[in-house]
């Protein structure tokens, strides 16, 4: 059977981050949204995970790590922060 689509059509898809929490522990905004400095959620404001398994907006965790003078610790569990590969 041959199907012909006559009129214009728009594809719609939905997506979510798969994180173990609803909100970013640093800015406390939902992970489905973006950090307060960004306008659109998605690839421009991605989430990152540490080896301790805690997850944040990349912009938030980078700001936190830059504000730490001596040790760079996870803001949740205080283990040394290492980005998960």
């Amino acid at each position: 059977m041959k199907v012909k689509i006559k009129s214009n059509w728009t594809a719609v898809a939905s997506w979510r981050w798969i994180a173990n929490d609803e909100n970013c522990g640093i800015c406390r905004m939902p992970f489905d949204g973006c950090c307060p400095d960004c306008k659109l959620p998605g690839d421009d404001c991605p989430l990152v995970w540490g080896q301790c398994s805690h997850c944040f907006h990349i912009h938030c965790i980078v700001k936190w790590l830059n504000s730490q003078q001596v040790h760079q610790l996870c803001p949740m569990c205080r283990q040394e922060w290492k980005f998960k590969e």
Binding site: G25, C27, R28, P36, S67, P75
Partner: protein, 199 residues
């Protein structure tokens, strides 16, 4: 104030207002104005401590760099505690200094301060006079802390003997608060307190 600090305080404020601790009257949080950079916190003195049944007010100032730097907190209610200055209300607590982490919130700060009232650290004092009394003569410390809770934090009336000592110094022309501080520092010895006030 930058976007992130204000946005976060707005969310935190709602979080505290809706929390169980507020329902149980353990902690409260009020905004000073609509700018979200100054708040007044209140904590209940923990039961079975000299601060029981008192209400302690805290001044909370939010720096522009919040939550990457801790809120600036001090006691507005006068309190007799080894880790809180009896003069200025300044607090010695690691999470308000180098142990701050961005995931902490005003709610966790207020609960930590409540825990500090229940578990003093006299070896890391903010008020050396209070800390020394705590270590060398705990019963006088306890009596004094209860008295301060009654007078400044609305706690239950404690020891009439202490009130009469303050009255006798007042009758000598000294200011009540200064007389209280001097007596508290000098183990409620009227002679030593008088000497201290004169010098």
């Amino acid at each position: 104030m930058t976007n992130i600090a204000q946005a976060r305080i707005k969310r935190e404020f709602k979080e505290v207002v809706k929390s169980d601790e507020v329902a149980a009257c353990n902690i409260t949080l009020e905004l000073v104005d609509d700018k979200y950079n100054e708040l007044i916190g209140k904590i209940a003195g923990p039961p079975d401590t000299p601060y029981a049944e008192g209400t302690f007010c805290l001044e909370i100032r939010i720096p522009e760099t919040y939550p990457f730097n801790p809120p600036i907190v001090k006691f507005l209610t006068k309190i007799w505690h080894p880790n809180i200055s009896s003069v200025t209300g300044a607090i010695c607590l690691d999470i308000l200094k180098d142990q701050w982490a961005a995931a902490m919130t005003l709610r966790t700060v207020l609960l930590s301060l409540q825990a500090l009232l229940a578990a003093a650290e006299p070896d890391d004092p903010q008020d050396a006079v209070v800390a020394q009394q705590y270590k060398e003569n705990y019963s006088i410390f306890e009596k004094t802390a209860k008295h301060w809770t009654a007078v400044y934090a609305g706690g239950p009336k404690s020891c009439p003997e202490l009130d009469s000592k303050i009255t006798s110094l007042k009758n000598m022309g000294f200011d009540e608060n200064q007389a209280r501080a001097a007596l508290s520092s000098k183990g409620w010895d009227i002679e030593r307190a008088t000497e201290y006030l004169i010098n």
